[in-house]
Symmetry: C2
Subunit: 498 residues, 2 copies
Amino acid sequence: MTQEQALEKLNALEKKKAAYAHAMGLISYDAVTGAPLGGAACRGETLAVLSQEEYRLKAGPETQELLAFLAGCGQALPPQAARRVEILRQELDETRCIPPEEYAAYQKLLNDAEAVWHEAKGKSDFDSFAPYLKKIIDTQIRFAAYSAADKDPYEYYLDRYEPGMDAKALDAFFSALRERLVPLLQRVQAAKQVDASFLTGDFPLEKQRALAQELMDVLRIDRAHCAIGETEHPFTTDFSKFDVRITTHYYRQNLFPALFSVVHEGGHALYELNTADEYAYTCLGTGVSMGVHESQSRFYENLIGRSRGFIAFLTPRLQALFPQLSDVSQQALYRAVNRCEASLIRIEADELTYCLHVMVRYELEKKLFARQMAVEELPQAWNALYREYLGVVPSCDREGVFQDSHWAGGSFGYFPSYALGSAYGAQMMHCMKKSVDVDACAAAGDLAPVNRWLCENIWRHGKRYRPDELLARVFGGPFDPAYYLAYLEKKYTEIYEL
Amino acid sequence: MTQEQALEKLNALEKKKAAYAHAMGLISYDAVTGAPLGGAACRGETLAVLSQEEYRLKAGPETQELLAFLAGCGQALPPQAARRVEILRQELDETRCIPPEEYAAYQKLLNDAEAVWHEAKGKSDFDSFAPYLKKIIDTQIRFAAYSAADKDPYEYYLDRYEPGMDAKALDAFFSALRERLVPLLQRVQAAKQVDASFLTGDFPLEKQRALAQELMDVLRIDRAHCAIGETEHPFTTDFSKFDVRITTHYYRQNLFPALFSVVHEGGHALYELNTADEYAYTCLGTGVSMGVHESQSRFYENLIGRSRGFIAFLTPRLQALFPQLSDVSQQALYRAVNRCEASLIRIEADELTYCLHVMVRYELEKKLFARQMAVEELPQAWNALYREYLGVVPSCDREGVFQDSHWAGGSFGYFPSYALGSAYGAQMMHCMKKSVDVDACAAAGDLAPVNRWLCENIWRHGKRYRPDELLARVFGGPFDPAYYLAYLEKKYTEIYEL
């Protein structure tokens, strides 16, 4: 086999992998959009069959042989191909080190745990969920050891979601946040509160849907390759850069959850839609890490969407659609959509308190994975941290430890991405402002220059570089949360006239 | 390999086939529901990969060996297994006899032809479409010869959609229809016309959606396993008996297209939902033929949905949702939804003229496949038959020969199913009425006894018997279109007071 032949084989392999990812991704998307409730068993049968083939493509003997050959080509391999081989070999190693029967048992455990979590959440009954959570954590620690016996298991998972980021760096990051955000929050809470009464009312769904379409156009999302659906919880998924889906949830009584979720998911979508064409159907053609992905979504949601300029642009449009807002000034709307309120639910949190919610989860995950805390102690520890960071305490576990589905789904080490992404975004904004008048763009509703900058610096690269490499290129230096903290302090000092 | 082991292998094979059919079916469903327009290329890539594997499951060496072994078991095989082997071997033979490169070229031809058809239809430009249609017909005739060299090619395709039905029987069927329906239509056209002015107006979509949900409940469709979507053209599809989808299209100005399409597709859905559990994930677990499938959908749409009793049941419900109907009597509504009007478009046709539309297509398909007519002569021949049977002539080909997508998709021999299904349904009604007071059920909106009869006699059997065998069991004798003709004559004589 020549190197050229091997690269052709690699392309064919990745195209096949993309096809299975598309089919399986669509089945999951359909599960929360069009499928009848009783379709779960049929879906399970189909996913079981397709994932067998997916496993073979990831870790079968042909793939092993091909990747070993390509790895052996060394410096002769073009750098992009070398990066693909690096990513695919890592995936192969991670897949192969878990005995198939243990992997299958874990999938079943997650399936069962999700159902138990749903029911237990409804009843706020942590005792019935605890044994499942314990088993998930035990399995994750065991799997981490299979793959990297010498590595701390929590570090292992942190690295999977944000390659290059470790607990030491995250500890420093969260410490900086805690030191400056907790006192800021206390000052905000002591100040005169913002009127947000007009944010709730009657907002007909058809008009909200029309607004969502308009917002997607304002974001310059290529509608030929991105559709919007409706689900319980908003999210973004992609079947290739040519077929991206975002979803939202409309509330009749409140316009703003859907509005900001469309802008948030729109940021994710823009990233996927704008990876380089040449990376399509390869492992390079997608966002590089969860943190960088969240940096894009939270950039659009907050740094653009909740900016003074963009709210000024939106106000007359909102007033035309919803006459009850006609007496609300730009300034009043700007303050209302940025109102800070220490609350119990992460996904409803404002920009200032958001990272404190994330921090709670990070602290708890570390302790669980270090065996410094038993699963049974989790609800109490959760409530104690909410009291400490946010000054509020859940009245029941449904409003507390049960609120996110991540842990029931085995996603430990994922939460920090949300906070990292927020901070990455602020530093990107700092860099972008050297060449783009972002405030003027937002106020004019002309986001083309913003998109251009992000495409040039981030989107088009896909997974070509490791996230820390990519960020170093973008920032021209190390990641520094000071930009994020300065941004929040300036914004909330102004809004609350501190 | 023992017979028992072979049957286990057969189950595993059919489960795999069902999984691929699910994935590919969902990708096609998504294409007309949630997908962005530019997703076609990505979809094509994925379908190409999955269909390779599907081909292997249908006709690969392992399947060949397994089916040959099972066929060799002869009488020792349980009858249901023997039927599965019979169906799968036929599929294998049909798949295998076409050289893969010719099959791929034909798939490409169909892809291209569909795009050309769309564009040519818009411009009513038959000349640009004719070369594609000619190639499709040539290929179909060639493929039929590969599979059954001694059989008339059109008979070959008729038999695929309605096994056991041949052109001789269909000729007799359509002759009987023509002889009695054309004069009946002429008498109806000469009579005093029915007022249907109130059928159009303003029918808010949210209320239509609510009505669709209510209708599905009235039909006793298991909502846990059947969801409704919205598409340009209504249809039904299933990914297994546990996950069935129907679609409709709501028109703001006219309530009734969506109403009757939900009842029509509901009939298809009930059939798929109620095949026996033991046939799930096997080739027996689906409707037996297109004709029998249409018999169920047109039974619900017309024999139930457009019956005097069901309209009486519906009237107060419609009046509650749509106040503009509050002065319309049951009798006026019954007559209006059954108004007969010779029109140009099949899918908008009333019950009396519907089969005449089908007959036009049947006559033309026969001539094309017998090479008695060139493709170029098609528009003129189409218009001549419309004048003869329906007394109307299209002003352009868009309203004529272009209206259905079937031919551009290579579906020759399919149209007769629509007429056969209508006639099967009338004979089923005759049999059902021996034990069920159908009129009383319809008037009470209690369709449970109707569903029970159809489930017992038709649905649960799936593909266990050939369609002609199944119908002979249901009818207790041969299929006879006299029931259908008598039904139409009675209904329209009454409505038009002939």
